[in-house]
Subunit: 346 residues, 3 copies
Amino acid sequence: MQFAAKDIALMLNGTVEGDALAAVSTLAKIEEAQPGSLSFLANPKYEQYLYTTNASIVIVNNSQQLTAPVNTTLIRVENAYSAFTLLLEQYNTLKLNKKGIEQPSFIHPSAQVGEDAYVGAFAYIGQGVKLGNNCKIYPNCYIADNVTLGNNVTLFPGVIVYFDCVLGNNVTIHSGAIIGSDGFGFAPKPDGSYDKIPQIGNVIIEENVEVGSNTTIDRATMGSTVIRAGAKIDNLVQIAHNVEVGSNTVIAAQSGISGSSKIGERVMMGGQVGIAGHLTIADGTQFGAQAGVNSSIKEPNKKWSGTPYQPFQDFLRAAVNTRKLPDLEKRVKELENIIKEMKNVQ
Amino acid sequence: MQFAAKDIALMLNGTVEGDALAAVSTLAKIEEAQPGSLSFLANPKYEQYLYTTNASIVIVNNSQQLTAPVNTTLIRVENAYSAFTLLLEQYNTLKLNKKGIEQPSFIHPSAQVGEDAYVGAFAYIGQGVKLGNNCKIYPNCYIADNVTLGNNVTLFPGVIVYFDCVLGNNVTIHSGAIIGSDGFGFAPKPDGSYDKIPQIGNVIIEENVEVGSNTTIDRATMGSTVIRAGAKIDNLVQIAHNVEVGSNTVIAAQSGISGSSKIGERVMMGGQVGIAGHLTIADGTQFGAQAGVNSSIKEPNKKWSGTPYQPFQDFLRAAVNTRKLPDLEKRVKELENIIKEMKNVQ
Amino acid sequence: MQFAAKDIALMLNGTVEGDALAAVSTLAKIEEAQPGSLSFLANPKYEQYLYTTNASIVIVNNSQQLTAPVNTTLIRVENAYSAFTLLLEQYNTLKLNKKGIEQPSFIHPSAQVGEDAYVGAFAYIGQGVKLGNNCKIYPNCYIADNVTLGNNVTLFPGVIVYFDCVLGNNVTIHSGAIIGSDGFGFAPKPDGSYDKIPQIGNVIIEENVEVGSNTTIDRATMGSTVIRAGAKIDNLVQIAHNVEVGSNTVIAAQSGISGSSKIGERVMMGGQVGIAGHLTIADGTQFGAQAGVNSSIKEPNKKWSGTPYQPFQDFLRAAVNTRKLPDLEKRVKELENIIKEMKNVQ
């Protein structure tokens, strides 16, 4: 699809400076843009690119002054950054506007599918499933019996949701994520082998949560594993049985939270963080990447790092101090020699 | 489905105290139970909840004495914990009682499917595949050519098994796990690029093994990657080519074992542990979470932690000692000053 | 399939010593081989196995001398290792020789499928997709709209490729890998919740790249996440938005690279390595397993390890020094006592 400068200006309530028929089909950063791209300039730091960009159209602030000739068509608006963000969102909506039921798909007769749904080919919707309005179930997804989805839920291709789980409004789950597989619970037997502890709980994901690709969220042994509203979870994250992740908490890729731990609100975890089981982590806590957390944190809004975890500043100092160890040992050795000599003298 | 107190009592060989028609449809912990739930009390520590619970039915020991009035129906049995576990298992069996061949599915004419099978829609069963009795192949699974499955094998939705692999009786694989993908083997060429080393072995998973969601187990270069009987593997674990995991070994989420390492029996790994390649790990070894293991361990039943790994007690001490380093340096500095002064005096 | 010694000798331009009709159906290491296997001996270190092996046929160098009787059929060739590698490759090609379009599959009418394609059942090929020649799209794969694949691309079962991504010639992607899911980008709002930043870029994978099972490669926010020619990526690896991975770089399992980092050519990462965002890593850099990298590396071809990362030799020394800390403290304590005593004497 192509759009002309004059049409974009109309949509953004802006004015064209240059070729009103200049056409674009994609969006790009001003320094990387190719012909056929639309870009924007909001930060004065990047003004230089305005005079060298290959973008066919650039959105600028009304207040933008030119200090050299430009080879691109400008669209002037009140706020270039907001205008560009609006276009980004509309572009994305256009890309993800799937509708209708593709064949072959499997929808159990007892399932309820809301209005304006997309159900892709090879998607499976089990017995007693309820989908709200405007849900997008991409191909190769599997929704087990008695799962409930709110409105505007998107499951990208290959998402698996086990039975009895509940997803709220505006939840987005990326490809390959597994919601509601069994918690890792086994009871040791005298002969060294294990009995499986049945995992009969579920997973509840509240509204506005986004879950990344190939992330796994296990069902509770009993009760629910809960992801609170607005939490954002990256790719390849492990959330174990009976965990609770607080509202607006952000978890970067490859982090893992062990069974029954309770993570507060607005917590931020870097990548590859590990949280042991049965802990409570205070609101607003921040963990550096690869931190290993083996005890509860009660004081909110503090930053931690390292394994075992310690205050972030201590972690940085510890690394420096460890590097100075050989030198310290040399100094002790020297002291020992001096003392020995002094004693000999005496 | 709903069950009345009198029917449950009959099944458990127990006696009802209260409303014999009290009905439940789910199981819950006594402190979290809602009306319509069945719960149990075995540990005297939780007796307080017996008098406040919202559960409609609670299973208690015959010996349980009441010190206050209860608002729930009781079922008295010899051993409340065992009785509840029995119900958990039966509840789970009921949830997972799928049978029959759904359409559309793909079953190669040469494949053998045993009795009482479940083959979900969009499942693929390749040429020469053999399934034992009572196997459950959920939707969107892929079983490649010449794979053999024992009896009572469950593949949850989206499991992939590459060609020639062998799974024993009572094996359970959770969604998104990949069994038998190529080992990571490449031979460097003089120009800096790589030749692929063909990976023609397979994966053998012995009986009673459970594998978690999105875990990957690579096929051997030649021969077999082997998971011994009774091993339990959590989510997002990586098992490389030619690894052997011993019987009843337990591996927590996001751990990784590099190529050709041999893990003993009854080994326990916390989450995010890493084992280098070509190592041998003794029976009964325990690794704390995030341990990094770069050499073989010969002494059995020891506990290790840290990167590089060290005895667990040393790991804890090292963290404490590292924190004391700035203080130690101050003490050395003071000694140096004193010595300097003493020498000046002399 | 079975092959006789005389046929294999013909193919390898070798000569049979023993039973020209000895038949084999698989390949194995000489020390593990069972009857019906073909093996090889190239390294004199393993000559002992030649006299005890159960292999039905063993390929040996023309120059190989026998010091004891052998119970197996020999095929003599100029270079036994090369000859065996040739057989390995042909065996693998035979195993992976799928062709044709299986039903049911979903191929959008506007998609272009090249010659000699394999499209498995339950595979989905979206609008405007272009497949080169000799592509193998296994069952349960999903290729979104406007994706372009070169020649000889193999997607093993369950691979997901989001819209607009581009894969070059001879790319191989293993099961469950997700190419092009959204980058992890959210803008904080004053109330503590987040706005999603639309992710409208794509992923470009150049020729001869191999990607492991359940690995995730996110699309760029704008522009492209790029994997350069010849890179090899293992299982469960996370590549974030706008990352560039250099040519012939090798990344072991469970490593993660954060957003916008640029990894040079011929870099080697051990397992579970973590690279922070917006860094540049020099060509030929090597990282030990579990390294944590929080700043750019400009000097090429150096080896690093630890968290935070340090030169590999320092990392090894630091571990040793840390273990000596309690001893060092004891020595300082002794010095303090001596000094105290000396001062008392004075």
